[in-house]
């Protein structure tokens, strides 16, 4: 500005002035937009993930209302189809992925004694790309004139089988929003994963050998590798779909000799590793929480690492178990049935090692532990239903029935979501410096668990009774009515449970009692710094001699490194 307009007592605000503005809304927004700090980004990831969870959870609630009674007229068929497509897509790409990346961002540097991720700016890029992709997906509700020029979201299902996505069968732009959103999200995930890999491999503090890395970091290393190998196929088939829809290419155009099955292969080559990308972080949280609240080190650390790596490898070779019904040769079906069943072995090892960790311990049933126990029990069920699905002939009956819906909600909610809750309660004191309220958390646990089983256990049965998934209505008297009604009632409990959870997050931040640096008496590095940690994480970069550095500090008489 030119000097004339300056009045005399104008002065440039001093730095400390700027400091004083802290907390003002504009200031917070500004910080969020400009930050490259891994902790802030981590929290932003988790917060936006939870936001999308509430939204797509409410969509699920609408789905359940429509299905609560036969021949219900609550929703039109098209509206229903959009709902389950958006629900599924959002839950996987806008809830699961960001929240796990949030955990990785916040904790990996702290756990390996680093000051930040390897590429902070790339990190911020990853977040904003993801966030924009989420907005893009939901914008389709407003911005994509469908067939009848009404605002319309994608309605092709979360795996969008061709040729349903071809211009001929999916007019308007809703499918384009879906495609572009996933393409963007993929780029963000790859960027973040490369960042995680580099951080874990190159930024470890002195003494943090790979064999001393917390299991948490190990599992995220595996996850990151899975992402950079499995994400490109998704991006590739999105690119192909765009070429098909806009440039008249024939990748999936059955009229021009294209193949409809090709899409399924490409999608599931991504899609199956994706489900392990989602569950391994769950394992990661469990592997931190269970030892601490059993007061024992993890049982069989090397085997746990090996098992995770094996799961990663095997998961790249099982994709066609989602395609048992497309008419593969008997050899093909047998091969994929076998490879799928093999996953049960390393996964079993993990479950048993967690139980082994608890054996002989002194279990403290704090909130994180409660959710981890729920996880163990529910994931057991989920895994076993998975094994049933892996038996190709059995799958010819179960595939695309509500049994599958039950299976994957047991893994995704009973497995992933429960460990996410556990993780949130476990690191809440570290991130915000306050203890989460136990009573509220207990209500959250009880209500959500009750609701979860009420909703999803009956779906196994309606699946057995031949109820296909993705149907907006059904006739009375096919034996499905009761199970669907119970299933819908369950959602009420879940919703109230979630309300307790959300309320707890806010309430404890305001009223919760101060948490020290190390409220759970834990052993990994993040608990050695203040809560919340300073921007630079550690005054002095720590140096470790074992897998449980803080144990060594607390028990100089018998430190871990004697036994490793």
């Amino acid at each position: 500005m030119n000097p004339e307009t300056l009045d005399d007592n104008f002065q440039i605000p001093a730095p400390e002035r700027i400091g004083q503005e802290r907390g003002s809304l504009t200031r917070i927004v500004q910080e969020m937009v400009f930050t490259v700090d891994h902790k802030t980004l981590g929290l932003m990831y988790i917060a936006s993930g939870l936001l999308f969870f509430v939204v797509s959870g409410l969509m699920a609630a609408m789905i359940r209302i429509q299905l609560s009674v036969p021949r219900n007229h609550f929703l039109d068929p098209d509206v229903f189809n959009r709902l389950f497509t958006m629900h599924g897509t959002a839950m996987v790409f806008l809830v699961g992925m960001p929240i796990i990346f949030g955990f990785a961002n916040y904790l990996v540097p702290l756990m390996i004694g680093a000051r930040d991720m390897a590429f902070p700016r790339l990190n911020a890029f990853g977040f904003w790309v993801f966030f924009f992709s989420g907005l893009l997906l939901y914008f389709s509700y407003l911005g994509a004139p469908g067939l009848y020029a009404a605002g319309s979201a994608p309605d092709v299902g979360w795996f969008a089988y061709s040729p349903l996505t071809a211009k001929a069968f999916s007019r308007g732009h809703s499918t384009d929003y879906w495609t572009l959103s996933l393409l963007l999200g993929g780029i963000g995930s790859i960027a973040t994963s490369i960042n995680i890999i580099v951080t874990a491999l190159c930024l470890r503090c002195k003494g943090m050998l790979l064999v001393r890395m917390p299991l948490f970091v190990w599992m995220f290393l595996v996850v990151a590798f899975l992402v950079i190998i499995a994400m490109p196929p998704l991006s590739a088939c999105q690119i192909m779909l765009i070429l098909d829809r806009y440039c008249g290419a024939h990748f999936f155009d059955t009229q021009a000799g294209g193949s409809a099955v090709l899409w399924q292969h490409f999608f599931w080559i991504f899609g199956h590793p994706e489900v392990y990308i989602l569950i391994l972080p769950g394992f990661a949280v469990a592997s931190e929480v269970i030892p601490v609240f059993s007061r024992k080190p993890i049982f069989g650390y090397p085997v746990m690492v090996a098992a995770s790596v094996m799961i990663g490898f095997i998961s790249l070779g099982v994709w066609a178990h989602h395609m048992f019904t497309v008419g593969m040769t008997s050899i093909g079906n047998t091969f994929f049935a076998i490879s799928t069943l093999l996953v049960a072995i390393p996964t079993g090892i993990k479950i048993f090692n967690w139980i082994g960790t608890m054996y002989g311990g002194k279990l403290r049933f704090e909130l994180p532990m409660l959710f981890c126990l729920g996880f163990l029990f529910q994931f057991l069920i989920a895994g076993l239903t998975g094994v049933m699905l892996a038996i190709a002939p059995f799958d010819w009956q179960l595939s695309d029935s509500y049994f599958v819906v039950a299976h994957f909600h047991y893994v995704l909610i009973g497995g992933l979501l429960y460990t996410i809750f556990a993780g949130l309660y476990y690191w809440y004191p570290k991130a915000l410096g306050k203890m989460p309220d136990f009573k509220l958390g207990l209500w959250h646990f009880i209500l959500f668990t009750a609701g979860f089983h009420l909703t999803f256990f009956p779906q196994h049965l309606s699946g057995f009774l031949g109820m296909p998934r993705r149907i907006y209505t059904y006739d009375a008297g096919r034996g499905w009515d009761l199970w669907n009604l119970i299933s819908s009632i369950g959602v009420i409990f879940q919703a109230v449970g979630i309300l307790f959870f959300v309320f707890n997050l806010i309430y404890s931040y305001v009223k919760g009692k101060k948490a020290g640096d190390d409220p759970w008496d834990a052993w990994s590095l993040e608990w050695s710094t203040t809560s919340p940690p300073p921007a630079y994480n550690f005054e002095t970069i720590p140096e470790v001699r074992s897998r449980r550095p803080l144990w060594d500090l607390k028990h100089p008489d018998d430190p871990d490194w004697k036994y490793e």
Partner: protein
Amino acid sequence: MRPVADMFRPLSRPAEMIHSSSLLVLAITAGIFVVVSALLVFVVWKFRRKGPEDDLREPPQIYGSTHIELAWTVVPILITVVLILVTSRTIGEIQNRVMPENAVQIRLVGHQWWWEIHYEKEGIVTANELHVPLSRRDGTGERPTELILESADVIHSFWVPQLAGKTDLIPNRKNRTWIEPFVTGTFFGNCAEYCGTQHANMLLRVIVEEPEDYEKWVRKMRQPAAVPHADLAAQGHKAFFANSCINCHMVDGTVAAGVFGPSLTKLMTRQTIGAGVAPLTPETLRAWVRDPQKLKTGCLMPDMKLPDSEVDSITAYLLTLK
């Protein structure tokens, strides 16, 4: 009769084979579940924190045990091997079954959202309801049915739980499956691959009959449609051919040769209308002709906006198509 589709009450060959192996799998997984969850509960109960005194001393720190870990690696491996053997045997038995000479052959073409059915040998075209003969397993007349599955638009999936597992109907691809029912009756199925707006109302019925009844049905289906003389039906006949119905529907032995919609030749022999949205009665038929979008929102038959007189007459004409 209750329209069940319970995969644990199989009444036909592939379904039965799947059923027997699935029972074994259920038993094994149930066993695993009981053992592991019992172990879990036991550990959680036995080693729970008993009181504040527990916080004073940490429990003995155990880092692992090769023997135990080996044990719980080997046992699952053995179980997995068993499962693998069961699976590959059943897959082979079902997929490599060779059809006998006398097998009935049906070509099933999926449409959004109805089933086009061809009996090539018999020269019959119909929709949404399969008729197949009973197969006697006591050697006195084994007669399975082979299904050739294709699609005219997107992917659909054939699924009649009590008869057989799913096989998809995929455009530009020929899939095969087979059924061998040994009980007469009507069996219910759904399209089991999401195929768009009305995927929910793409239902399928399989009517299993005694061989002689089946032959009777075949003969009946081959008779050409009779030209109606009753005056209302006669008007309807005219109206039907005057309107664009014939662009999409076929009536054998007439100029109506459309293939976009289901064949109406023997419409009134069917139990349901609109691929199962409603039972086929004069009322529902009239409602459909008046406005299909009311009965089956978004289905690919447009509201023809016919005057009531034509609605009545055309309905009357359609009622003669049996």
